[in-house]
Structure formats: C-alpha cells, structure tokens
C-alpha cells in the first residue's frame, strides 16, 4: 500500500522490540468478540489511476458552473479565483500544518491569521475580527448566542430577509426556544423588524443584501435596536458587496457575520466555506472562535500567538463561549491571499463589475414577458416572479443547459406565496451572452 512505509519484515522486527507475539496482541484490550469479527465487504486497496477513474466518473455526472450560463447564488457565489491562490494554499507548509499551538514554528499561519483578522475588521468596519468560524450560517447561530451572553436577555428576532438556511440553523441551535421570534419571508424587501424590538430583546438579526437581494437599512435597524438596549447582528452572505456598500460597522452594527466563500474559495457544493465574525472591542471576551494576537519573543522580535484562549473549550470546558474547536484555516488563507491580491483597488473594481452585470441582468429580465423583477435595490442578486411555478421552470432551463437560479420554494416549501419566485445572481463571470441565453430561454419557456 503506497501510503504505508513498513515492510512485513520491519513490522516483525518492531513487534520483536515491543515483545508482542503478533499485532493482535497489541489489541488485547479489545473484547475478543469485537476484534476483527467481521468481513467488511469493502473493496481492496486500489492504484492511483483506478481511484482517479472512479472519481472522474462521478464528477462527470455533475453539471459544473463553467458548463453553461450560471445564475445560482442564494448564499454561495461563483467568482473567479486567481491561479495564484490555489497554488499557494497547496504548498505543504500551509496545507499540512496543524493549528498553530507551537508559535515558534507556526509563524506563517499565525501572521496570516493576523492579516486575515485585519482584513475582516477593515471590510466590516468593526474593531476586531476572529480567525474565522465554520461558515456564515453557524456563525450566525454563534452570534445570536453571543448577543444573549452580552445582554443577559433572551429574545432574538430574525428578519424575514434572513437566508432560510441560516434561520433554520439558528432554530436548530435554539431548539424549542420560546424567545426566538422568526418573521415571515419578505420577498418584496418590506421592512419588518423594527416593530418587534422591546426591552427583552437581546438582538435582532438583519441580512443585507438580504436573501432576496434587497439592500436593508442598517442604520435604522441599529438605532431602533440600540434605543431598546438590544444589539444589531448584521449578516452578509455576499462579502463582495462590501466593496460598494457601506461597512456595517460604520452604520452601528454590534456583531457582523459574513460568509467569506466568495473570496478565494470555490463553490464546492456547499463546503468547506468560512465564517467571518467581527465585533466591537468591548465584546471580545464573549466572541467565540480563535484569535491571533501580536507579541514579542524572548529576543524582543515581533511575533504572533493564539491569544485570549480562556474563552475556549479546551480551557473553560463546560463554561466556554462555544464548543467550537477548529476554525476554517485553509479557507481563511485562500480568502486572505485573494484579498491581498485584490487590494482596495481590485476589490472595488470587482464589486462594481458584479453590480454592473447584475444591473444588466435585471434590465434584461424586466424585458421578458411574464417576468417581474421584485427588487428596487440590489447588489448582485435579485428575485423575480414568473408566470409559472419556479421549480419546474428552473428544471426545464437546466435541461437546456442553463442554471437559472434558485426557486425560493426549494428553501421555503410550506409558503405558497413564494412558489413562482426565483432568486438569481450575476457575478464578474456572468457574460452578456449568458444573460441573453437566459432571457431567450425564459421567454420561450414562459410563452
């Protein structure tokens, strides 16, 4: 087996040093009836080329984003990732290192995390950011719990514009919680949350651009929350939007959670992604997840370490801020490299390009008979209402090689009002020809 270095001769020699008659003797603590008492019936080891053939056959059964016009968004976005990013993250020293618990020989990872935290803080306009969480959805649940610890209040209000999966994750984390108030879906972008804030509210959760693509008024939400002593959690699923839109920190957000996949990370059918979390300086000690900080070594040289770890499970055990153990290190690295390549100049151009393509898409869709664009505002994503049920329509378009977006009813199956709605996104990868292909096909299907 190509991954196992020992020859049988060496194994025998090592057993001799140990003083064990055979390998089973080392498993003597295992109850006899449980040790190798079965035939797994799994295939035997296989050469690289056969494994590759097997995996290629599976991959070939999927329609990849590059195979045709592509407008799927709704929380994960197809952007270009520079070749440099993927090359660098595959370097051994990044890919095959562990969590930087030995800072003297992990300065690469640690400095990168420090740079990543700085980038995340600047993007969101917040004081501090952590070294990443699993993804945006679990990050939102963590933010909700953090807000409860900070305010010692319980009521949480989720805006109707929050991504339905994010809402469902919060619901699972707070199972049967009477203090969780979930507002109904708001595909028209109607403001819905301000009337639900009271003196028992720990936090309100507002997404912008929201699930349907509308831009929400963060300042108003922040003022309303703060007037009652509640916190505002802002959720962002499309982090590229921050290249054009005001930073939530500048508008009064208390905790910002973002899905960082758009920068540096492929779609990967849903994961691995990375959650960004940023907050105010005074809230650091209630923030979950790893933090990297600057210090000096014994010679006075600048260096970096994981810090404030008394918040974490390996020290606080049952009193920890979260049970979270890993961050999303390699995805954070990809994000940080891509953002470092973009810089402010590139990131702003990228955001403008996304908005420009989305504007073309919106205008083109508005011209298709039977299609209504619901958005007055958007960044790179919008909701349309069509004359037909969306699931079947999107399926027919897929058969024509066009991935036309996400039928809202796939995420909201029990809400009859969304049956005809589709959420579509455009990015820098969306071409004018793609848009033309979509509108032509849509017009034909709806005719």
């Amino acid at each position: 087996m190509r991954y196992l270095p020992h020859s049988d001769h060496e194994r025998a020699e090592m057993l001799g040093v140990i003083g064990a008659a055979n390998i089973d003797a080392l498993f003597s603590a295992v109850p006899a009836r449980a040790l190798k008492s079965f035939d797994l019936g799994l295939p035997a080891h296989s050469p690289e080329f056969l494994v590759e053939a097997h995996m290629r056959a599976l991959a070939a059964k999927n329609h990849a984003g590059a195979d045709g016009p592509f407008f799927v968004g709704a929380g994960a976005y197809r952007h270009h990732v520079p070749a440099t990013v993927d090359h660098l993250i595959q370097r051994s020293e990044w890919l095959t290192a562990y969590t930087p618990y030995q800072p003297e020989i992990s300065q690469g990872t640690l400095q990168m995390l420090f740079e990543f935290q700085t980038q995340a803080a600047k993007l969101t306009g917040m004081d501090v950011a952590n070294a990443s969480l699993y993804d945006g959805s679990t990050g939102t649940a963590e933010a909700v719990l953090m807000a409860r610890r900070l305010t010692r209040r319980n009521k949480i209000v989720l805006s109707g514009g929050l991504h339905p999966h994010y809402r469902d994750v919060v619901r699972a984390y707070l199972k049967d919680d009477a203090d969780l108030q979930i507002l109904s879906a708001s595909p028209e972008g109607q403001g819905d949350i301000l009337d639900h804030i009271d003196e028992t509210t720990a936090a309100i959760v507002v997404q912008t651009p929201d699930f349907y693509g509308h831009l929400r008024n963060i300042k108003t939400a922040a003022d309303a929350a703060h007037a009652k002593g509640a916190l505002l959690i802002v959720v962002i699923t499309e982090v590229v939007s921050l290249g054009l839109l005001e930073a939530p920190g500048a508008l009064g957000a208390d905790i910002v959670v973002a899905e960082g996949q758009s920068i540096g990370n492929a779609l990967n059918f849903g994961g691995p992604y990375l959650g960004l979390m940023a907050t105010r300086k005074e809230f650091i000690r209630q923030m979950p997840g790893r933090l990297c900080g600057e210090t000096v070594d014994a010679d006075g040289q600048r260096g970096f370490v994981l810090t404030l770890s008394t918040r974490e499970q390996h020290i606080r055990r049952e009193k920890a801020t979260s049970n979270i153990c890993t961050n999303s290190g390699l995805c954070a690295l990809a994000f940080s490299i891509h953002m470092g390549l973009l810089g402010e100049a590139g990131f702003t151009r990228l955001a403008r390009l996304n908005h420009a393509q989305a504007s073309k898409l919106a205008d083109a869709l508005a011209g298709v008979p039977g299609v209504e664009v619901l958005n007055k505002t958007f960044f790179n994503e919008m909701t349309i209402s069509t004359a037909q049920p969306a699931v079947a329509l999107v399926e027919r378009l897929a058969q024509r090689g066009i991935l036309a977006g996400v039928p809202v009813s796939r995420l909201e199956p029990t809400d009859p009002s969304v049956v005809n709605l589709i959420v579509l996104a455009a990015t820098e990868l969306t071409t004018d020809a793609d848009i033309a292909a979509l509108t032509t096909a849509l017009a034909e299907e709806l005719a």
Partner: protein
C-alpha cells in the same frame, strides 16, 4: 482589622462591616501571570461559596468564591487595565471587591493566619 482565609485561597480583610476580598500570595504564584480579572457588579448579592469573580492566566481560568455572604459594595476597577497587580501585590493593590458582610459569624469558619500557613505549608 483581621484577615481571614478560605481553603480555596481567597482572603478577606475585615474592616468593620466590610470585607475586602482577593487571592493570596500563594495562589497568585501557583496561577502564574494573571492576564484578566472578571469582577462582579456592585450591588450583586452572594451567598458564601458563590462564584464571585474569575481570574485568568494565559492558559487557565479560575473562579473566585465569595468567602462570606453579603453584597458587593465596590470593585477594584484598576484591575481591568492592570491585571498584573494581582501578581505584584495581591494583598493590597490587587484586591478584587468589597463586600458588606451579611453574617459576621461566617468569618469564624474561615482560617486565620496560622491555619492558612499550615494549609499551604
């Protein structure tokens, strides 16, 4: 003015009806460099043995228990910015909170200088 000790290494310095609470020299040495002190809020009411504060070193967090029942009347806010005072001067500048002693008889159950010295010998 007397100082009493708990077997958990808190001290309480009694000044009239008020007790000043902190951790002992022995405790600060065992914990190593203190990097953060979480203090109770003024007005908080504790029963003897309640968790009243937390001191953190880089790798550990330790709870400070109320040595007697009572109400917190003042906390040492200086520790927020200078947690190292607990290491440098635990008995004086490193005090943590003052408590209005609800039941002075609880003090009798605590250790005196000799008793604590014996414990940490």
């Amino acid at each position: 003015m007397t100082t009493k000790f708990t077997p958990d290494h808190e001290y309480i310095r009694v000044e009239g009806a008020t007790g000043i609470v902190g951790i002992t020299q022995f405790a600060q040495e065992a914990l190593g460099d203190i990097v953060f002190v979480e203090l109770p809020s003024v007005g908080k009411v504790f029963k003897k043995g309640d968790e009243a504060a937390v001191v953190e070193s880089v790798k550990a967090a330790s709870e400070i228990y109320a040595p007697v029942s009572g109400t917190v009347t003042e906390v040492n806010d200086t520790l927020t910015g200078e947690p190292g005072l607990v290491n440098q001067d635990p008995a004086a500048a490193g005090w943590m909170f003052k408590i209005a002693i609800a039941d002075a008889s609880e003090l009798d159950g605590l250790l005196d200088d000799a008793g604590y010295a014996e414990l940490t010998k």
